[in-house]
Point group: C2
Chain length 508, copies 2
């Protein structure tokens, strides 16, 4: 039996940790209409046209529409309490659109041309045979707004209640005792809601799409969870599900599907390497030495599998097979990946120290030394204080950030590097909150706390100013319809990897 | 307490009689395509393109379509056993159309302009989050054909099973021991399937639309049931639900809604009067004298309520309030309604005799005498052997048939009348199987058995030749798109009032 071949045992343990979800009702707050606006995010804003509490005085019929705002983005199942008025001799046919953002409410889904499946758009057509009734939609959605079109009604219809029965492994957002500014408090709350909404029976990346457990997203969620909900059971379960879906070679997947049975999803090279950091973070928080020892061989196996990608000179080959993510952008990812390798090795060493496997550390320490030196020697351009990547010596933020976070450079050097890259207009900038997170971390490492704070404010703070009450998967100020999927409707507006201001505020 | 004010008790008894439905699987038989054809009913025919058993060798993807034929019209819930092939990272979005007739499969529902709600059309759009799965559609449909359009699939989809979990209070069609011709046997079987499919937890008029318990339809269903399934519990339950929904004046409704709670539906004058015949038929079959005695005052109350519609001369006023049905056609319905009144009085007398309430009979007998004479004297034109109706002395088949069925005319006279009306081109003809049933009955009464048989063959037999495996709500040979609802798509192709060949074969 291989060291990592405890998969069945990990699955059993993960299953036993499945959390009982909490449920609570969130009622519609207001009736709204959408309006086009040049100044609003995605050119769409909402106008409040009445209190949702007056809905029960209104009558709807075939052709009627109502849009409600729940006041916050909520994950759960829509409940309609419906009462007929007058004629009531045929089924009621409704179309709904559950939307996270105003743009989704107002869009014509028939125009959808995205790269991901159209089925992620949250619309449904339902037929309700018997009225009055309480109709619970069977699927879970993530939504702040709900548009209801009455496609066919016998007579008039009254909505006595429009609510979402919210679900998550936690209901309440923890109160922060940190001395935060009002602005920071707002960002923190949005971050907490983002994390909470993604805390289902595993840590999902986004409750609208993909609704899946990803190792890279889990890493950031687990860090934020440690400073907030402290639901280490859900972290452990998520981690063990990933471990249990390890392939026969010992490669931990980047994501898993948990239904109807556990299934290995995509592989991502950088996510697999970062397994060490996820395990370290959990074991540091829980002191579960036994679990750390059990997972340590799996951690080491990720390095073994990756190691052949290094050439003799200690640099990564240009043709690392498979998918390297780093960020949703096309650029040469070698230096970033090299940084992640060292970063992950260091986490592995700390894990080994923590769980008393010191004998394993020696070769890892040597490799850290060797891979750090090779990066510094071959990719760091001392003259311009920049880390280059690939045969064309490309420059990206990610390529600076990850070697810095790997500790290959001193904080002072890091400051020089992070300052220098700002003066390279062609440097590939971060594109997602995931990469922005690592840039902020790098600023803190470099002692550039003001830069970090300014970025938190100009990035996460800007989302809040644009109306976000959960943080988005994709955000590039001024680029409203940017999407890695060729269609902004496919973007998730509540995405776990954006929740890390929780960490920044707690740690710095 | 009024005599009929036992409503709560009737409801309790009806509830206790709720039958447990039987369930069985009906698998798709064939894959089909629809084709336009000038000779086919509703210009649409189906072409067999493969066995459904080969479905599991086929792969479907976004944009794919499959249409299957279940081999017979079945009422129940659609079950799809679905398996993904290849990519499986997003929900599956399907559109289905469940159709009784080929024309429905092929129609564009966006063009629907009917008078009834569009929500009766049996189409659904569903999103299925997790694959593989067995997906049971939540609603009940009546269908022979199922069209599935794959609106969005991550990869390829395999249908390992397409079936309907059928439901009814009876599964098996009883074998007839009658000496029937092959043609009659086919008609009988289609009639039995029609009745079976409508036998849900009440006798429904049609399992596609309206799915409701109607007194007039129940009357014919109960007669056919007596010769076939003999589920008198369901008849009693249905009858008591109608009785329990009697209004405060004592008017029994023409139909009730049973969900979510019992509710009085439409009132129809002729249906209310015919209550006596429904009760009589049940009590004759079950000998439940006590139930007959209990319902007798309600039966009498219908006459009391209707009686003011008669003028001094013993004829019906022209302005009988409310809805008089008789048939789905516009014509003067006075003579038919007059006939139904006498017919129903006679059933009430037989009921009184059966349950030993002879003292009640005398005045009813006198009224039968009086109302029969007035009809004969004032509406029967001896010279042309026709019964006329209304101030314009209109002539309709219904206006001949009902006075005949009321026994106001001897069989010989009836034969003269039914022969004479054939020579009146402007006489309003029957339009629905409901009225055709009564015409056949009148032919039998008049000793015109050959006419009756010919009509059974040319009407019900013709439906079978046109492909019916359950009998239709609306059928007028040569008038394919006739609909009382301005839209043939709204017609029901499995409708209880068409099932009465069961009676003809058993009784004659």
């Amino acid at each position: 039996m291989n060291h990592w071949d405890q998969r069945a045992e990990w699955l059993r343990r993960a299953t036993s940790l499945k959390p009982e979800l909490k449920h609570w009702a969130v009622n519609a707050q207001a009736m709204i209409e959408c309006e086009k606006s040049d100044t609003a995010w995605q050119k769409t804003t909402v106008r409040n046209v009445g209190l949702a509490s007056s809905l029960s005085d209104m009558k709807f019929k075939t052709g009627s529409r109502v849009i409600v705002d729940f006041g916050e983005t909520v994950v759960g199942r829509i409940r309609l309490k419906l009462r007929p008025e007058g004629k009531n001799d045929s089924p009621l046919r409704l179309q709904i659109i559950a939307a996270e953002l105003p743009y989704e409410v107002d869009a014509d889904f028939a125009d959808f041309r995205g790269g991901l499946s159209r089925s992620w758009l949250q619309d449904e057509v339902v037929n309700i045979d018997v009225l009055p009734c309480v109709y619970d939609f069977p699927r879970r959605y993530s939504l702040r707004y709900l548009k209801i079109d009455v496609l066919a009604a016998a007579g008039e219809i009254i909505f006595d209640e429009i609510s979402v029965i919210a679900e998550s492994s936690e209901e309440f957002l923890p109160d922060s005792s940190l001395p935060l500014s009002l602005e920071e408090k707002r960002i923190d709350k949005v971050a907490l809601r983002t994390l909470r909404n993604c805390m289902q029976d595993v840590f999902e990346d986004g409750p609208k799409r993909d609704r899946r457990l990803w190792l890279g997203d889990l890493r950031l969620q687990a860090k934020a969870n440690r400073h907030s909900f402290r639901r280490f059971d859900v972290v452990e379960r998520s981690l063990l599900l990933l471990a249990a879906a390890t392939d026969d070679e010992g490669r931990v997947p980047a994501c898993v599907y948990t239904e109807p049975t556990l299934r290995h999803g995509n592989d991502i090279t950088d996510y697999s390497l970062l397994l060490s950091d996820v395990v370290l973070d959990l074991i540091e928080a829980t002191d579960d030495i036994e679990l750390g020892r059990q997972l340590f061989p799996l951690v080491c196996r990720q390095f073994e599998l990756f190691r052949p990608n290094f050439a003799e000179n200690g640099l990564l080959r240009d043709d690392v097979p498979g998918w390297t993510f780093i960020d949703w952008a096309e650029f040469n990812k070698s230096s970033a990946l090299h940084g992640i390798y060292v970063y992950s090795l260091k986490a592995a060493v700390r894990l080994a120290e923590k769980v008393g496997l010191l004998v394993e550390c020696e070769s890892l320490q040597q490799e850290i030394q060797h891979k750090s030196e090779s990066l510094r020697r071959l990719l760091y351009d001392e003259s311009c204080k920049l880390i280059v990547s690939g045969p064309d010596r490309e420059i990206s933020y990610a390529g600076q950030v990850w070697p810095i976070l790997a500790g290959i450079f001193s904080p002072d050097e890091a400051k020089e590097i992070l300052s220098a890259v700002e003066n390279v207009p062609e440097a590939v900038r971060p594109r997602t909150p995931y990469m922005y997170h690592h840039l902020v971390e790098a600023y803190f490492y470099a002692g550039m706390d003001d830069k970090a704070s300014a970025l938190i404010n100009s990035y996460w703070g800007e989302m809040v100013r644009l109306g976000a009450d959960t943080f988005w998967e994709v955000f590039e100020p001024g680029n409203d319809f940017l999407s890695p999927y060729k269609e902004a409707l496919s973007n998730s507006a509540c995405h776990a990897w954006s929740c890390t201001p929780i960490c920044f505020f707690a740690e710095h």
